[in-house]
Chain length 355, copies 4
C-alpha cells in the first residue's frame, strides 16, 4: 500500500481498519521541549466521533487516545509519539452481506482488484475511521503552532444548496454553537433541517468546508513542486469524500480580469484584497491562508441500489448500518488537523533556508 | 528551497531561472528498454513555447531540448535522463525597473522575504518558464504509458465566462485545430475574440482546463495519504496560476443526493455514471480519470498599478514586457505533462503490491 | 528527531522508549495476500529478549508482540501492519542516579544537548530496546522473502580475540545450538568462558557478526547512491554498538592485487570466488551476499568510572543495573531483521525497472 | 534505476555516463544568500581528474564544470543549482571489445541482467566518472560549512600493506604535497613505488582512506535509523570500490574491554579518548568525526583474464584502456565531498529540532 506515511520532517505514519483491534500511528519529527495537553487532543477526537449529535452516524465509539511514547514529564522529547485508539463497537456482522458484493461509489471494488484481498468489515482501511489518527497528529501540530500564534478557523459553509455568505475568520465558540459547525445559527438551522429531511428519505447530501489560517509567517512553501497550496491540496484531497479544493478566489477567479484580481500591496506588505488566499508563488505572504473544500454526498444510503457481486452478477443491494446523512459536520476537525500538519511541516522546512 | 524534486519512483529534479543560462533537469527511475522519440518531446515543448500564436506572449524562445544521458541506441537504459534547454531571448534589462519593487500578485515579495535575496530577472525561479522542464519529463512519461494504451485528452473548456458544454474525450487533432486549444471551433473563436479584447485593454483573463485520462488500469493510487487524486491535485496545484481543482462531479457534487451521485456498477465492473472521476477510495477504477482546473488571470498586466518598493514606499508600477493575456492555451501541455508524470509514478508504485 | 522511519517502499516507522508504556511501530508497503505467522515473529523476539541465557542481561521482559492491523483471516491485506510490545519490567528507579549525569560512551550527553531534554530512564529512545521493533518488521520481511527462496545465515564469528575460522552458510540449528550463537560449539564454548570471565570483572567485551544471504536474485540494488551494500551498510550501522562493516573481502581486499581479487565468471554467470560479497556495481549478482560487522564492547560496565554531571562537575559513576557483558549473541536476530528489511525493500524497488 | 537522488534537504540528483555527451546534476535545498566560489569547485574536480599525475589513469578529461542556475550576483538564491561537465575524451571504440562480454568484478553482468540493456562504453553509468558530480555538490557543501568553521582532513593512510601510522588531522598542504595524497612524504614515496611496481605488472592494488571532520557542532544525527554514522556509511559505501568502513576504534574495538573503550568525559564535555569517532548514540558529540575506508584493487587490469560472453561462452579477455593502478589517490576528494554533503544535510535537519 505504501501510502500511509505523510509529511517530510513532521511525519505521520498511520495504521488500522474500521473493525480491527485498534487504529493508531507514529508521529516522527516532533520538535522537542514543548508541552502537549492530551485533553486537547481528546477534545478534537470528540468533535469527529460518531454519535456526538443526532445529525451524524449513531455508531458508538468512545475513541479514547493513548499516547505511548515521546513525552516525558509532560514535554515532547523529540522522540516519536506512538499512539493508539482501541476500536470499540465492532459489529462486523453488519458487513457480512457485502462480503461478496461491491457497494456503488465505495472502495470495495478498487481495493479488491488492487490487493487481491479485502477486509470487508466496515470498509476496512478505506473507512474514514482512519482519519481519527490524523486528528491526533493534527492536534499535536496545532498545539505546537499555537506557540507561534498561528490560529485556525474551520467551518461548514455549505450543505446541499444552502450556503453561508460570510467567509470571516470565525472563533471556535461560534463554530461549535450548533451541531452542523456552521457559525451562523440561522443558516445552521436550515442546514440541519435539510440534513434531517435527506436522512428521513434514507439519502445523503454533500457540503463544503472553509478553512482560514491566521498569522502564518511569510515564507512557508517550497517551490516549485512543494508549493504550500499544492501540499495543502494533496492533504485535503486525501480526506475521504473530498472532490475539489479552491484557494482564495478559486474557481471564481476564472471570470475575473487581472486588474480586478491582483492583490495590491500596502506599504506594510499586507494586501488590500486576498484573492491569492495568502499564498503567492507557492509561498505564504502573511495574509490569511484560505481554501474551500467540496465534499460529495456519503455513498452509503439507506435505499436499495443496483450493484454487482464478485462474480459480476447484478443484484439489489439493501441499505444497512449506521451512517452519516452528511459528512461535513464531522469532517471539520479532520480538515483542520490536516491543515495543521502541513503548516507545521512547512514551518520546520522553512527553518532550513539558511545555515 | 528543497522543493524542486517531484515523484517517488519516477522522479523529476529541475533547475533554472527565467533569464539564466539554461533550464533543465534530471529524470530518475525511468523504466529501461523503451524507445523514446526526442521529436515528440520537442512537439510538446512547442505547444508551450511563447510566440506560437498571436494570442500568447510574443517572447522569442526556441526551447530546443537536449537529452544528455540515459538513452543508448535510442532506448532508455534505466539510468537517469539529464536534459537541458538553453535560454535564448534573455532581455534582462526589461526587468531592471522591478529590481527594487514588488509586483502585485507575483512572487517577488514572498521570494525576497523567504530567501533574503531575489533573482528579479523575469521572475527568476518563480517564472512559469520552469514548466518547460516538466513537459520534457511528462512527454517521456507519456511515451512510456502509450506502451500500456493509456491516453490523455487535455483542453481548454473555459475562458472568462465563455464555457464549452461538452466534456468528451477529444482527440489531439480537434484540440490543436485552433490557437486556444478548445476542441469546439465555434466556442474557440469566441474565446479568442475575448482574449484579444482583454489584451487590447492591457488586461488578462482566467480560464479552465479539463483533463481526461483513458485506459488507466484498475489499481493505481496508494491510500490513505497518496490517493491518486490527492497526488494529481498536488501536481496540478504546483502549476503556476492554478487556483482550484475538482475531480469528476467536483463542486457540483455538493448539491447532489447520494442516490443521484453514486456510480452504479455494471456487471463488467464499469460504472453507469462517472461522478467519481475514475477514482474510488483513492484508487483508479478503470473508468476515465477526469478533473478540471481553474487558472486565475495572469498577474502581469499592461496597466499602471499601485505597488510598493523594498523600502515600503507606495509607487505606481507601469506595465511592461511581453506576456500572455490568458494562460490556458499554453498551460494545456503542462497539465498533460504533470498528469503523465503522476500516472507513471503510480503505475510503477502499483507494481510493488505483490512480490 | 525525524529519523525513525526506514525504507522506501517497505517502510518501518517505530516508536518507544526503554521504560515507557510500550514500544511499537507501523510497517507500511507490505505486499498483499501473503500468510504471516505471528509465532515466527515471536520466536525471533525471543532470540533478542534479555534473560534468555546466563551470558546476557538478566532483565526480565516477556516482549510479547501484538499485531493490530493489516492482516485479515491470516493474510496481509496490503494495509499497514501496526504492532505493539508492552514494556514489562520498568525499574525506572534504577536510573535516578544518572538523571543529572552523563555516562561515558552513552548517548546521554548528545541527546540532552540536541533535544534540550532527556528521558533518562534506561537510555530512553537511545536504548537498544527499540531494536525489538526492527525484529518484528524484519520477521515479516523474512517470511515474505521465504516465498522467493531467499535465506539468511547470521551468526557470531568473533568475541574479543576468539574467532571462528569458517565463513560457511550455517543453518539455524547449528547457530542456535549454544547461547553465543556461534555455529562451532568448540569455539562457542571458549567464547562463553571469555564472556563470563569478563563479566566477573564487571567489564564487557566486543565481537563480530557475519551475515550471509542466499538465493538473492540478480538485480537488487539501485545505483548510484542506493547501491545494495550502501543501504545494507546504513541499516547495519544504525544498530546500537556497530562500529564497522565490511562486504566480501572487505578490509583484507586492501592488500590484494586486482588479479587475485577479481571474481572470475563461470559460464552460468556464477563466479569462482566471491570477494565481491555477492554485489557488483551496487547490484546483487546472484552469489551469496556476505558482510561482517564489528560491535564495540557494551558501554555500561559494573565498575566505577569518572564522568561529569550536567553542571560539568567531575564525579565517580558507579556501575549499576542488569546489562550484557557482550552484545553479539542478542544482536544476531537484529542484524538478520535489518538485512531482511533491506532485501525486501530492494526486491520491491527492482520490480519497477520495467512497466 | 531510481537511486540517483541523494539527501533529505540538501539533495543531489545526478546523471551521466562515462562516454555520453555530458555528466551533471541538480543540487536542491541550497541555503540562500551564501557566496560560492566556482574556482574552488574546479580545484576539487582537478584533484579527481584523470591524468593529474603519473600514478593515475592517463585518460584526458578537462572536467570543466559549468554552473547553470541558483546563483545570482555571486550568491546562492535558494533555487536549485544545475551544473554540467561536458565529456571530452570519449574513445568509445576502446570498448567495442567488451560489448558482448562481461568483465570480471565489473558491473557489466549485473547491469545487463537488471536493465536488459547496457551502455557498454566505459562502463556507462557504473563508471566512477559519475563521482565528478558528487565533487561539485560536495564542494558547494564544504564552502557552506566553512561559514560554520567545519573542516575536513581526508588522506590516504594505506596502499597494499604499506600503512601510515598517524591518524592526525593533517592540513591540505601536507596531503597535497605528493601524488598519493598521503601526508607523510616518506611513506608516500614507498606507496608510489609500490603502485608503479604493480602497474608495471599490469596489475592493481587496494588502499585505505581516512577522513576526519573537525568542529562539527554537538547534535548532528537523527536516531534511530538516520544516525550520523549510518548515513555517512551509506554515502561512503556508495563510492565505487569501497568494501568497508569503520568509525573511531572500528574493527579494533572488538578486542577491547568496555573499561578500555569508554571515552571518559572531561568537565567541558569533550572526551579524553575518541574511540567513538565523534558520534555517540548516532549524534555528533563535538569531538572530531573519524572514519576509515577500505578500497579494493581496481578491477580493470592489463592482463588476460578468463571471462564469459553474453551467450555464456568462456573466453580470454585481454586488458585494454587507460586505468588507475590504485584508486585511492583520486578517491580522496570524492570521500571528502560525500562527507560534506552528509554533514550539511544533517546540519540543516538539526535546525528542525525546535520551532
Amino acid at each position: 500500500m505504501s501510502g500511509s506515511v505523510y509529511g517530510t520532517i513532521f511525519k505521520l505514519s498511520t495504521f488500522g481498519e474500521s473493525h480491527g483491534t485498534a487504529i493508531g500511528g507514529v508521529i516522527d519529527g516532533v520538535p522537542s521541549n514543548y508541552s502537549i495537553d492530551v485533553e486537547k487532543i481528546q477534545l478534537e477526537l470528540d468533535r469527529r466521533r460518531p454519535g456526538q449529535s443526532y445529525i451524524v452516524s449513531q455508531r458508538k465509539e468512545s475513541d479514547r487516545v493513548q499516547l505511548l511514547s515521546g513525552i516525558f514529564e509532560g514535554k515532547t522529547t523529540g522522540a516519536p509519539i506512538g499512539f493508539l485508539i482501541p476500536n470499540g463497537d465492532q459489529r462486523s456482522a453488519d458487513y457480512e452481506h457485502i462480503k461478496d458484493t461491491y457497494r456503488p461509489s465505495h472502495a470495495d471494488f478498487t481495493y479488491e482488484k488492487k490487493y487481491g484481498i479485502r477486509d470487508f468489515r466496515g470498509g476496512g482501511r478505506s473507512s474514514a475511521r482512519e482519519t481519527a489518527c490524523r486528528i491526533v497528529a493534527g492536534s499535536v501540530a496545532k498545539q505546537l503552532l499555537e506557540n507561534k500564534g498561528i490560529q485556525f478557523s474551520t467551518y461548514v459553509d455549505q450543505v446541499g444548496s444552502i450556503r453561508l455568505n460570510d467567509s470571516s475568520f470565525f472563533l471556535r465558540d461560534a463554530i461549535e454553537s450548533n451541531a452542523v459547525r456552521c457559525p451562523d445559527n440561522h443558516i445552521a438551522e436550515k442546514m440541519e433541517r435539510h440534513i434531517m429531511d435527506v436522512k428521513k428519505q434514507g439519502d445523503t447530501i454533500g457540503g463544503c468546508i472553509r478553512c482560514i489560517i491566521q498569522h502564518v509567517p511569510v515564507g512557508l512553501g517550497e517551490p516549485v513542486f512543494d508549493k504550500l497550496h499544492a501540499e495543502l491540496g494533496k492533504a485535503m484531497l486525501s480526506i475521504n469524500a473530498v472532490k475539489g479544493i479552491e484557494f482564495g478566489s478559486g474557481f471564481s477567479s476564472v471570470e475575473m480580469l487581472g486588474s480586478e484580481h491582483n492583490d495590491l500591496i500596502n506599504s506594510d506588505g499586507s494586501t488590500k484584497t486576498n484573492h491569492s488566499g495568502g499564498i503567492q508563488g507557492g509561498i505564504s505572504n502573511g495574509m490569511p491562508i484560505e481554501f474551500r473544500l467540496a465534499f460529495k454526498p456519503v455513498a452509503t444510503i439507506m435505499r436499495s441500489q443496483e450493484s454487482i457481486t464478485q462474480k459480476g452478477d447484478v443484484i439489489a443491494l439493501a441499505g444497512k448500518g449506521r451512517h452519516d446523512p452528511c459528512v461535513v459536520p464531522r469532517a471539520v476537525p479532520i480538515v483542520e488537523a490536516m491543515a495543521a500538519i502541513v503548516i507545521l511541516d512547512f514551518y520546520l522546512r522553512n527553518k532550513t533556508v539558511c545555515l
